[in-house]
């Protein structure tokens, strides 16, 4: 009977979440939707992190998703869902290209390389005016509709994002548990030993990069459909740093951990709005303290707690 308790709790939380739009004020609901959207991008970084890679370009993939979806629907009248397919394909291609240098570089150099990539993509959004409207941004983005129903109201968008978040969270968990997850950890622990034990390291690393890019891209498409107006500044390097902080603070192996970290840091951002740009100092502090006191992130603490309970049970039996 006891084994069912976590499942019942999980089901209760998932079902309970459905009632959020009915009682929360508009502003909070907006935050919740925003948290759900960026959680998808953060979970993408988690997949990358599990394979031993780090990217400071998730903000750019988020932007690519937002711009691709927005431009296709505004200029060519493509529906949100068709544009989503284009976003996924395009994110795969860009993820592949950006991932190529990672065959050779890792660690600090990878952080710098991806930072450069983010800057390049930002500059394209800003300066290629014919393609992206440049600093004017893209406005009047129609957003998704399904069978004649338009996801315009906030509660409806909440349910849409909820479905997406659930899907991508589940996908992450399946990836972590599958053999692909095993390859990721193997490559992270030792590339040469993985290679000598039959794992195609290059393919594995590129796969991680492409999956992570798709997560970022889909999150971006959801964002542009929600907010209706996008600007290059929404996808600058500080966004990438924020996403990276969230994923590391959450513990890149734990989907629940990353969701908690995204929620905590987003709410903190809102509360500390009054100190303006100094918030970034707070992120840095969170990252440093987190790495010192919980190197495995919030998710790592969950695992510790679980082991403690397990040990306690064994103690009771003994």
């Amino acid at each position: 009977m006891k084994n069912y308790i976590p499942k019942i709790v999980l089901a209760a939380v998932l079902l309970g979440a459905l009632s959020i739009p009915s009682f929360t004020p508009k502003y909070i609901l907006h935050l919740v939707i925003y948290i759900m959207i960026i959680s998808i991008a953060v979970m993408g970084l988690g997949i990358l992190g599990v394979s031993g890679q780090i990217s400071n370009a998730q903000g750019a993939f988020y932007g690519i998703g937002a711009y691709t979806s927005a431009l296709f629907s505004v200029r060519m009248g493509v529906s949100f869902w068709a544009s989503l397919l284009i976003v996924i394909l395009f994110a795969c291609v860009v993820g592949f290209v950006v991932g190529l240098p990672t065959i050779k570089v890792s660690g600090l150099y990878l952080i710098m390389t991806t930072l450069g990539v983010n800057e390049i993509i930002y500059l394209i959004m800003m300066n290629n005016i014919t393609l992206t409207n440049g600093p004017q941004g893209v406005s009047r983005i129609p957003g998704p509709s399904l069978f004649g129903f338009t996801f315009k109201s906030m509660p409806s968008y909440f349910y849409l994002c909820y479905a997406f978040l659930l899907f991508f969270a589940l996908l992450s968990i399946r990836i972590y548990r599958s053999r692909l997850g095993n390859y990721f950890i193997a490559v992270k622990n030792s590339e040469i030993a993985s290679n000598m034990n039959g794992v195609n390291v290059v393919k594995t690393k590129l796969t991680a990069f492409m999956i992570s890019a798709v997560y970022g891209g889909v999150a971006g498409a959801l964002y542009s459909g929600y907010i209706g107006y996008i600007h290059p500044d929404n996808f600058k390097t500080d966004v990438s740093v924020l996403f990276l902080t969230m994923s590391i603070f959450g513990g890149q192996r734990s989907v629940v951990g990353m969701l908690c970290a995204t929620t905590i840091l987003t709410i903190a951002t809102e509360y500390f709005r009054f100190i303006g740009e100094y918030r970034l100092i707070a992120y840095g502090l969170v990252l440093i303290l987190g790495m010192i006191y919980m190197p495995e992130g919030i998710g790592g603490k969950f695992v510790q707690l679980k082991n403690l309970v397990k040990a306690g049970k064994q103690h009771d039996k003994g």
Binding site: L171, R174, I175, R177, S178, R179, L180, N182, Y183, I185, A186, K188, N189, S190, I192, A193, S194, N195, M196, N197, G198, V199, N200, V201
Partner: protein, 247 residues
Amino acid sequence: MRFGGLSALSKVSFEIREKELFSIIGPNGSGKSTMFNVITGVYTPTEGKVYLRGKDVTGLPPHKLNHLGMGRTFQNPRLFSDMTVLENVMVPLLARDKHYLAGELLSERSRRKNMERLRPAAMNALNVAGLKGKEDNPAGMLPYGDQKRLEIARCYAINPDVILLDEPAAGLNTDERDGINNLIRDINSRGVTVVLIEHDMKMVMGISNRIMVLNHGSAIAFGTPAEVSNDPAVIEAYLGVKEMDDE
């Protein structure tokens, strides 16, 4: 297997016979590890060829060679330290057992089924390596001797044709050395060709069928342990020549 050419190794050509225990010895910097890296595809030789069972495998990446039945261990154990002992051994088994990923992403049951299917081979390798009962331990927490055993188990799990062991006894105490010695003999007696790099001469002389001696990137001697240990060129390489003007 034939090989020749590369600046760190020049004009070394040799053949390892099926099911033999072949050792490569030589002073530090003589090219032993380079030789391993060339054979296993980590380096592509600038000149020369590598053959596996008569097939030219020069330039194939390591993971493809592993799929063809070649395993390798490292001087310092390179384990997947975030995994359990069993998971370590499962990696090469999963990597060569293709076309199941989609199913595993879709259902937990399919993943379990795949794991159960491959588990016996992994458990067998752990049994052979004497790691039975430790399969759920985190690999990163194993004592050094067990880490060395786990590396051997990992490359034995795929039932390879040939395994290359890079100093498997380095850093071990006498008892552990004896254990590794027996393990290598055992694996060899199960029909696996073993190529060994080792500095422990007692061990090398005791278990090898044939030995190749490298010095400055070239092979200076070939033969059975007895032949090699009496070869003047080998004695010279290991002990140095007595200089004439000493007197």
